[in-house]
């Protein structure tokens, strides 16, 4: 338990360091933010070369809530969440205008260190991407680099906790030394969730984390998300309407790179305001 406290302390220290460095632009943006907001996107435009992928988005992500991004394939969901922790920085011809503020600080400003940002804003990718090393080492990789444990026993504990949270522990506890690539698709997906949780991010971005999971594991991952919501802010991309309806607080519907509709969870499914949203929900969108 004191381990958790130590991590919390480290996090808040890093956070305040990032904050201190940009006091000037903090105040101006802060005034526009309501207290419950963690992330605010304003007039966000994203381009890959000449193609305009995200168009003038304005959206807020609330603290310790689950925000679900929905929309047809290719509408820009992955692009959107990848811009939230600057995962797109290294993508060729990526260009962004507008602003994304995390706790009032523009994450694309010079003051923000992209590496520290990713430690705070973790991510689970659309395609499972475990390292070609053992299951144990996959989960321990982040904690080892960030020195989250003092000894082997603590590391074992972190790894076990993360695997349990991701509902994978029972399946792999006897083969932690096995290569992660020998896991099934669904197991790899949960391993990636465990790996992201092990470094204890404040915000977790999940890009279709249950796309290859059976109903049982999907249910477990959903329970996990609701559980995580107590300490974490979650952004979830999913095509699964039922999953969205179950876990979401806020739902944002993206179509062709534009934000069509944003609403609270049951409302948007029961009473969509826009025709495209209704068509998408009822499966009539082609």
């Amino acid at each position: 338990m004191d381990l958790m406290e130590a991590q919390q302390e480290r996090m808040s220290k890093e956070k305040s360091e990032t904050l201190e460095r940009s006091d000037e632009n903090t105040s101006s943006i802060n005034s526009q933010m309501s207290p419950g907001d963690r992330i605010r996107m304003s007039s966000l435009n994203v381009y890959y070369g000449n193609s305009h992928v995200l168009k003038d988005l304005n959206l807020t992500i609330e603290d310790r809530k689950i925000t679900v991004i929905m929309g047809p394939s290719g509408c820009g969901k992955s692009t959107l969440i990848r811009t939230l922790n600057r995962m797109n920085d290294t993508v060729h011809a990526f260009k962004l205008t507008g602003e994304i503020a995390l706790d009032g600080i523009n994450i694309y400003s010079k003051e923000v260190n992209p590496t520290l940002l990713k430690l705070r804003v973790g991510m689970v990718f659309q395609k499972p991407n475990p390292f070609p090393i053992s299951i144990y080492d996959n989960v321990a990789f982040g904690p080892k680099i960030h020195k989250l444990s003092k000894n082997r026993a603590e590391m074992d504990e972190i790894v076990m906790q993360a695997l349990k949270q991701a509902a994978l522990w029972e399946e792999v506890k006897d083969r932690l030394k096995a290569n992660a690539l020998s896991l099934s698709g669904g197991q790899q997906q949960r391993l990636c969730i465990a790996r992201a949780l092990a470094v204890r991010p404040e915000i977790l971005l999940l890009d279709e984390p249950a796309s290859a999971l059976d109903p049982g594991s999907t249910a477990k991952v959903q329970e996990l998300m609701v559980e995580l919501k107590k300490d974490l802010t979650l952004v979830l991309v999913t095509h699964n309407m039922q999953q969205a309806a179950t876990v979401a607080n806020k739902v944002a519907f993206l179509y062709n790179g534009s934000l069509v509709e944003v609403g609270q969870s049951p409302d948007i499914f029961e009473n969509p305001q826009k025709k495209v949203t209704e068509d998408y929900i009822s499966g009539r969108l082609t």
């Binding site: 590496t115 991407n129 992201a196």
Partner: protein
């Protein structure tokens, strides 16, 4: 009626196509096997020829004795050439492996930079440079400047040849590491440099080691650049600051001499050189097949 005729026509055509494709497939397979045999035959012939011609001089003493001034003295050997080759290649590796691997990492991991494109192009040109030109270059900047042929100059020339090879193979093996591994690591708040050292290098190290060993094998046999730099020597190896013998130089001088005994020794040295290069190549094979390549730590 009509549709039925069209259908059967179609299926006849299709099966005709299939038979033709199977025939083409078989011919291609035979042709490829033939090409492989043709490629292997010269290698086997050369190897057999070397072994037969080297056999008379091969002995333990041949490997440990020094050359003699007279071609007719007993107990001649090539020990100085063996040591000289290893020391010069070792010196070249000390320079070329860190620079080559570093350059390869840059070319692969910072490929989006315009400078990387220029560097990559330059590297390709350098890799294709005739080795004698590199020999002349080193002759001018080191041998003339120090007023002395030396093992250092030889080793330096070999290093210049090795760097682009190591850089190219490092670049290529690191580019094979899936980008999703880099993204996974970066997403855990791991810096780019640590991602490279912990994930990219350890995943790509198989290809990297292969490239380094192949570069070593390649310069082991280099002759032309050493003629202008290391010069060769009949004395025991003492220091790299003096003219230094190598296996390739010894083969060149003995092979072109007028004496049967020295010509026979050239064949002996050739066998030693071939065995060293083959051993390097075989260890590459062994390493790329073993756990070393795919396994994590």
């Amino acid at each position: 009626m009509q549709t039925a005729t069209v259908e059967s026509e179609k299926s006849r055509k299709r099966s005709g196509n299939l038979r033709r494709r199977q025939l083409v497939d078989r011919i291609a397979t035979v042709a490829i096997f033939g090409a492989v045999i043709l490629a292997i035959v010269p290698l086997v012939l050369i190897l057999a020829d070397i072994v037969i011609k080297a056999a008379p001089v091969m002995s333990f003493g041949f490997l440990t004795n020094l050359p003699k001034a007279s071609p007719f003295s007993p107990d001649q050997g090539i020990s100085n050439a063996i040591i000289g080759s290893f020391v010069m290649v070792g010196f070249a590796s000390l320079i070329a492996i860190p620079i080559g691997v570093g350059a390869g990492i840059f070319l692969s991991e910072w490929a989006e930079m315009r400078f990387a494109w220029v560097a990559s192009f330059t590297n390709d040109v350098l890799a294709e440079f005739p080795s004698i030109v590199i020999g002349i270059f080193v002759f001018v900047i080191i041998v003339l400047a120090t007023h002395s042929f030396s093992g250092y100059a030889g080793g330096f020339a070999l290093a210049v040849i090795m760097i682009p090879i190591v850089a190219r193979t490092t670049e290529e093996s690191l580019k094979l590491v899936p980008n999703s591994y880099r993204e996974a690591s970066m997403a855990l708040g791991v810096s780019r440099w640590r991602t490279i050292t912990r994930i990219v290098l350890s995943t790509g190290r198989g290809g990297l080691v292969t490239g380094v060993l192949l570069a070593v094998a390649r310069v082991m046999g280099e002759t032309a650049p050493l003629l202008l730099t290391a010069l060769g020597s009949t004395l025991a190896f003492r220091t790299l600051s003096q003219p230094t013998e190598s296996l390739s130089l010894l083969i060149y001088f003995y092979g072109t001499s007028a004496y049967k005994t020295w010509q026979a020794q050239a064949w002996g040295a050739a066998l030693v050189l071939v065995v060293i290069v083959l051993a390097l190549n075989i260890s590459v094979r062994a390493l790329t097949r073993g756990k070393f390549i795919t396994g994590g730590d």
